[in-house]
Subunit: 704 residues, 2 copies
């Protein structure tokens, strides 16, 4: 997790020299733009135009091909037609070129022959040890080093200043728009990267590299899909280890979006619920719109540190808008604790019509009494009861006369309460807004957007608590039941029991005598069920007897089952009869594992019945995970109240449920080569203190 | 519904002359600002400063008090301290002053003595026939007539041009912010009104007046609560009848927000779910943030007419962002039908790497081929399959070189496809943006905001289908069962049956013989239940027998019930034993009516079991309503799939369910004076074609 950045990527993203293959003198040509931009913005490394049909390009001496270069060069930009790209790169001597950015389209995105072309290009690059960005990409920019290895028209309309945001986008159009948006919103970038077809370097590589890049504080990524799940997990873990927040937009949240994404990316984008689980699990903040994407990047970049928790103070000069903000805060999962009583009393003494509760309404008095806002904030924040402060100034924010008051407020807040990040909602003129941002204060025209952003950013605090080491070492297969080709339910339960799951004790009885012995050993009324790989609906064929006690009754029940099954399913192979204690009362849940083609085993949790079947009320996590993650997964369910003891029932043993899910995740991860799916249905959540209990399970071998 | 506007409000909002009581020469004083603004912006009526301590104010001759006025005046602005307001108004002769705007605070918002002061002010106004806006308000502006009857500082920072939006806000701070926001976003206003304490005129009065105002096309309202539900309903109905959309922000959506609102408005804001029902029912679009508020107002004002339906075409030059927009479209309830095959083929012929499906990705080719966008749109829209078009231009929108292409596109779209309103997402320079807006085209930097806005505005199309006349005349009490002090379940069911609800036939049997006769008449196995006002949990005391058939069994069951109940509840009054057919299979629903203190009877619908109890999955409508509204109400439920036939069950008779709810709403409305609540639980939804069936009901008399 803490490995050093890939040094070949450093040659790419921080090159000492750049050759532009297909360099052009014609303004607007894709071979002309990087030369123009590099010179215009003062790139300090070597710039070598490569073009066999010109001696100089834009005043620089040009070479006919890469092999004419004396010595090595970190980066080659390929701005030649797809048909010539591999050939142009072939001219490089092995080791001579560190990396190549391939602008041109006409590769895998166009179909089979383009894909072959792309494969050939990759092979040439691999042979020569060249890392490849693209093809079919807009290139990249290293803003601080003035590396404009791009033909995006976006910088031509004005460049973005250097800053702490590293931005990477699979889509060029999204990337170019995001670059323009960053300029519009006054954000600073460290790097801007578009990955295009990702023949070699993908979004995950870039995230990992940015995680180690000293200029980058926040990573903003746009992705359409992922081919190497482990690499993406490693990249997100690296960012988390480096304390850098990742904001991600991934398309395909809905069926309509996934369909559009699939038709666009050719490769299926994968199950979106799994991406969602991944992002939650690794503390990446998922943005659902470009606006959210920027609000989050903006907040993480502007604030020195995100809120340490979810306790929000709201200060307004309008009670009504305060309530509007409180609405949004509740939706965003933020708490609005009341200020201490003495602080409330002091405010009311000063402004009798104010409201001292949270939202704190200092009223329009804040306009006529310049010190009121700060005094109140000092007083309310003195107890340390807040993790962030959101202030609404209404139309007063536009007043030049009041600017010194607001500027002093933001400055003093930063000095006196550095642990309470501040967001102000008002319509400041752009220059004023920038001043406040330089003081580390967020500014939002829309107070609801301020609250929503704080809510999402504050969720990082939960994540910080989740120690990755809480994931116990994976269950080892040592001593596990022998690996079988297929598992009946008794074998499946034994497997899960060995993996640390609370599986109800059950025995496979070969005959009536064995059934009696098993029931006697359990010492309670039992359930008997026929076990057969050929019978799915056991009750329907008379294969189930419940609540059986006493030797005679057991023998009779056993005989009844065998008779009924032999009569109604004469062809069925019968393994025996399962003997298990009758289930105690509890809330029926479902837990499962399926194998995602990109991310491997994924654990699912839900409540039984209509919750899963009608409401699709389930949550997912990538295996393995620890207890805290399992708890988060359980709390995510819409029907969570049912586990807390709704309808007069006692609260369930949620901790035991979490332990069971974590154990399932460790099993799924450790045995991912052996098993492709597990379904535990029902997994019974018993009353608090009594644990959880798997009553039945289906386990499917890999390749089965 | 089609009554004429209140002419006394016309004197207020369109005054021919204005007296400013407490007029001042000191800049910034609340008595100075209206005089300054009226003169500065060229108000053409008479302006009369009133101040006993000055002969002239800002160069105008001042009068000592209102009675010194020769003749009448439409409007008096009161900018004097609360203690002097009533006194100042008292000086007016009856009939002399049409209306008064009272700026000053210190009235009911400050407590009991302020409330008394306000009552006195109202009495004075009533005696003299003066309509009152405020007190404790920022006043109003009639933008076209240059009436600036306000002391809001917002117009001092720049005024908003005349336009089609009428804006009314209970909160002054929200109103001032919204005014500034309108200026920032380039929107035009007809009127801007702040209602403050609403001693006389409230938001509903203003909505109704704006509904009749020729200058207003769209109404934007902010409210915190409402004291007269009927007036608000009438106002929203008037706006709807006038074809004017209403966008409303009401605080208190959540518990935290409602709490804050209550502490702010002193009076409880009321049940938010009822407001939500009201807005849905009357086709008012509820905005949850200031940004949504403006996006909706902007769309309704800029588009000549809203989309006629929910079929959206998405055009992009980026497949990825197209998918992002498709995600948002699905969330917004929009459909994305595919273009006709020939149109798709023609696009692919022209641009092989394009995507002809919806989202239509014309690719970056749109940049190099100026006509591509329009040709494709012409081709795709020719079949009339779309109600709106959303276009994403990525960073190309910022390009001055491409401006003529985009301008021509917007212009031609308007000319050739006037029935397909257009929204473009791109970062245009402000002046370019305004040009597109003048062409009737919406512009959004965030493509998701564009889609979200289209989705909400398109929901007006559903509303347009809902003919208010679909509400059949209210059930008359003629021939209804006699009005009782209290209703047992048999009486309750009879009442509902008479009201047109499908209530299961049930009889109250006084003795075993009567029970046998009733069961014989039904001709099927029956359920027997003891009926007693003193027994709630009938099964627990042995008061229920199910599936009883045959005279002997009936007599035995009757005796068993009576014995058990007499033994276990010796004090209980017993009305008899209910005899009803056994219930058929169906999905258990719940329907109810409760009486909202502001809006009267409100009908609730939900699915039984965990849906209501754990998930609070219910929908509401104000009574009365018709079948279409009832259908909308049923479809709103999250568990709706269960009624459509989830889990292998047959689909339910949703039409019959809707008829039952509509009948319940008519009953609740017609008998609102007699009954305070009804609960039908369960209301069984039977398989399609078999109707619905109320199995049990509780009816509570008003005042009981």
């Amino acid at each position: 997790m803490t490995q050093l950045p890939d040094s070949t990527l450093s040659r790419l993203f921080d090159p000492q020299g750049i050759a532009i293959v297909g360099a052009s003198a014609t303004p607007g040509k894709i071979g002309a733009m990087p030369v123009t931009l590099l010179r215009q913005h003062g790139y300090e490394g070597r710039i070598v135009p490569v073009n066999p049909r010109a001696d100089t390009i834009q005043g620089l001496a040009a070479l006919p091909s890469l092999d004419a270069l004396d010595g090595n060069i970190d980066l080659a930009i390929l701005a030649v037609p797809a048909a010539h790209a591999a050939q142009a790169l072939e001219r490089a001597r092995p080791g001579q070129v560190g990396a190549a950015v391939v602008f041109t389209s006409g590769f895998s995105e166009t179909g089979a022959s383009g894909a072959a072309q792309q494969e050939r290009l990759c092979a040439v690059a691999r042979e020569r040890g060249i890392r490849l960005l693209g093809p079919n990409c807009l290139g990249f920019m290293n803003v601080r080093r003035k590396v404009y290895a791009t033909f995006s028209p976006a910088p031509a309309n004005g460049i973005v200043p250097p800053g702490g945001i590293g931005m990477v986008s699979q889509s060029g159009a999204f990337g170019a728009y995001a670059y323009s948006m960053a300029r519009e919103r006054g954000l600073g970038l460290s790097h801007w990267i578009s990955t295009g077809n990702e023949a070699d370097i993908d979004v995950a590589d870039c995230i990992e590299w940015l995680a180690h890049d000293a200029d980058t504080r926040v990573i903003m990524a746009y992705m359409e899909g992922c081919r190497d799940g482990n690499k993406l997990r490693r990249a997100l873990a690296a960012a988390r280890a480096a304390g850098k927040a990742v904001v991600v937009t991934k398309i395909g949240r809905t069926q309509a979006g996934a369909q559009a994404a699939a038709s666009h990316t050719a490769a299926l984008a994968g199950d979106d619920a799994v991406y969602d689980a991944l992002f939650r699990q690794y503390g990446a903040l998922r943005a659902r719109s470009i606006e959210d994407f920027f609000n989050l990047g903006y907040a993480l970049d502007t604030w020195k540190r995100p809120p340490a928790g979810k306790r929000l103070g709201i200060f307004t000069i309008s009670g009504g808008v305060g309530a509007l903000m409180a609405d949004e805060a509740q939706d965003a999962g933020l708490a609005l604790p009341e200020p201490a009583a003495p602080a409330q009393a002091r405010l009311l003494e000063r402004v009798p019509f104010a409201s001292g509760r949270n939202p704190v309404d200092v009223t329009g008095q804040a306009v006529s009494e310049p010190g009121l806002l700060l005094t109140t904030a000092d007083d309310v924040l003195a107890d340390g009861g807040y993790d962030a402060l959101a202030v609404f100034l209404a139309a007063a924010g536009s007043s030049e006369a009041l600017w010194p008051t607001f500027e002093a407020f933001a400055r003093e807040m930063q000095a006196r309460h550095p642990g309470v990040p501040l967001a102000i909602s008002a319509l400041f003129p752009p220059a004023r807004r920038r001043e406040l941002e330089r003081l580390g204060c967020l500014v939002f025209p829309d107070p609801s957007a301020a609250i929503r952003t704080i809510g999402t950013v504050a969720s990082l605090a939960d994540r910080a608590d989740m120690d990755a080491s809480a994931i116990a070492p994976s269950a080892s297969p040592d001593g596990a039941p022998p690996l079988l080709d297929a598992y009946n339910e008794v074998q499946a339960m034994a497997l899960l029991r060995h993996a640390g799951l609370p599986a109800t004790p059950c025995t496979l009885a070969a005959d009536a005598g064995a059934a009696v012995r098993a029931a006697t050993a359990l010492g309670c009324p039992v359930a008997l069920k026929v076990v057969s790989p050929d019978i799915v609906h056991k009750s329907d064929v008379g294969g189930v007897k419940l609540n059986v006690a006493g030797e005679d009754a057991l023998r009779r029940a056993h005989a009844d089952i065998m008779d009924a099954v032999r009569r109604r399913c004469p062809q069925a192979r019968i393994d025996g009869v399962l003997v298990a204690p009758m289930a105690p009362k509890g809330v029926e849940c479902i837990a499962g594992v399926h194998c995602d083609p990109v991310f491997g085993p994924v654990v699912m949790f839900g409540l039984g019945g209509v919750f899963v079947e009608v409401l699709k009320d389930v949550s997912f996590r990538l295996a393995p995970f620890g207890r805290d993650e399992a708890l988060a997964m359980i709390r995510e369910i819409k029907g969570y109240a049912l586990l807390q003891g709704a309808r007069g029932a006692p609260p369930c043993d949620i901790g035991a449920l979490a332990d069971a899910l974590a154990a399932l995740s460790r099993f799924a991860h450790a045995r991912r080569a052996d098993f492709s799916s597990v379904e535990i249905n029902p997994l019974l959540a018993l009353p608090d203190g009594q644990g959880a209990l798997a009553l039945d399970a289906v386990v499917i071998r890999s390749g089965a």
